[in-house]
Symmetry: C2
Subunit: 242 residues, 2 copies
């Protein structure tokens, strides 16, 4: 076990490595459409818990036409028929539909952040490798953002801690340091999210879990490292450079 | 105005085209950490509305260690200090932190779905173009999933309707039809999400808003079409093939 790996990162990584995306997101989802109004989420969540449903994920946002769009995910043993009819009777709700969970649909996420040329290259490697894993029944998706500037990159790195289903972050750039390095430290120590960096100038490579020179390989490795099938394990190669 | 464009798609697209990602997601976010327990979301959302806060987005999920992780987004005029202290006093809540919204961080999303080789190519074009837009102050991110099989692709296409911040979907494959075509139809008619397809075999190209032969160009066009800066407008090139 690498001694300089934050405990939260080691625990979270070990747990993720041992579970499929579906195991991480058990149960089923309900998609709810409603006219938006104050107190809607409170009403729905109270109805769910009064019916014995165990809601562990909720996402809600408002569409361009002021429709409120909710997705809730509940544990397997939550009573489906009862929940649908209880939620349907909440004032202003217009539609309730059973859906698969995000986890079973999009799976674990590789996040790639940095400069366009290198982000595209890392993404190509990650997408090709995720394709191979997904053919074998895994669920791994690759999400990217090309950005410029220390402050902007740092704030986007910090926000990775507030995304769900994140498996690993890859930093794709030619120089990153300062505030970005502090953001990487916070992300690893507060949220337990592992970070790969391309070999690059700046202090960030001192703070990450793995440094990889070739961007395609960085993308491939990122996918292998979060796969529950692959034998490749971050605990064994922590702080290495390839 | 293209006559065969669903009204919901035309309205949603026109609205998105006219707004920045930040305008689409006004206000600020609060990140909340808590021990997970039943009724937590109901308690928080009731506290927010009793303090006069207007919560329009909530996301909550459970971490590997049974910490409950919530992000709520409220409108600008919601009283920040009062909300923080009201939520902090909800039983089992351990931390409340002010954060930027997802919209101001990650912006609008281009979603790319299909086979690995083509997904990677479309993503490269989209990432390079998003980089240029983001340098000019926009927020556009590119999210991908490489998958195989008619049923699987169809279910992932359908699920795009349940993602927030989606600007446009690009289908990157060599043949798509059957259930996928029906899923594209549902996505466009029920959720108003525009769809680009690569020029390919199968019926899907009959159902989409735009057909593009070169995958790099498909990615570039996808970004230009959802930009609030770019003059490129889907209403003017609807049903074209390039």
């Amino acid at each position: 076990m690498p001694s300089d790996m934050p405990e939260i990162l080691r625990d979270r990584y070990t747990w993720m490595k041992a579970h499929t995306a579906e195991e991480e997101a058990p149960g089923y989802a309900l998609e709810i459409l409603s006219r938006d109004r104050k107190g809607l989420i409170a009403d729905i969540s109270q109805r769910v818990s009064s019916m014995g449903g165990d809601m562990w994920f909720v996402q809600s946002w408002i569409e361009h036409d002021d429709t409120s769009h909710l997705l809730i995910q509940v544990r397997e043993d939550s009573p489906q028929e009862e929940l649908i009819s209880a939620i349907s009777s909440v004032p202003s709700v217009s539609r309730v539909t059973v859906r698969p969970t995000y986890g079973s649909t999009y799976g674990k996420r590789v996040i790639v952040i940095g400069g366009g040329a290198q982000v595209a290259s890392v993404a190509s490697g990650a997408i090709a490798e995720a394709d191979r894993h997904n053919i074998r029944g895994e669920g791994i998706s690759v999400d990217t953002m090309a950005v410029i500037g220390e402050e902007k990159i740092a704030s986007i790195v910090r926000a990775v801690g507030r995304l769900h289903r994140v498996g690993i972050l890859v930093l794709a750039g030619a120089i990153m340091g300062g505030e970005i390095t502090r953001a990487v430290r916070d992300l690893r120590h507060q949220y337990g999210i592992p970070v790969i960096a391309l070999k690059m100038a700046g202090s960030v490579t001192k703070e990450v879990d793995l440094v990889v020179t070739d961007p395609l390989e960085a993308g491939v490795m990122a996918v292998m490292l979060i796969s529950h099938i692959g034998q490749f394990n971050l605990l064994k190669i922590h702080r290495q450079e390839y």
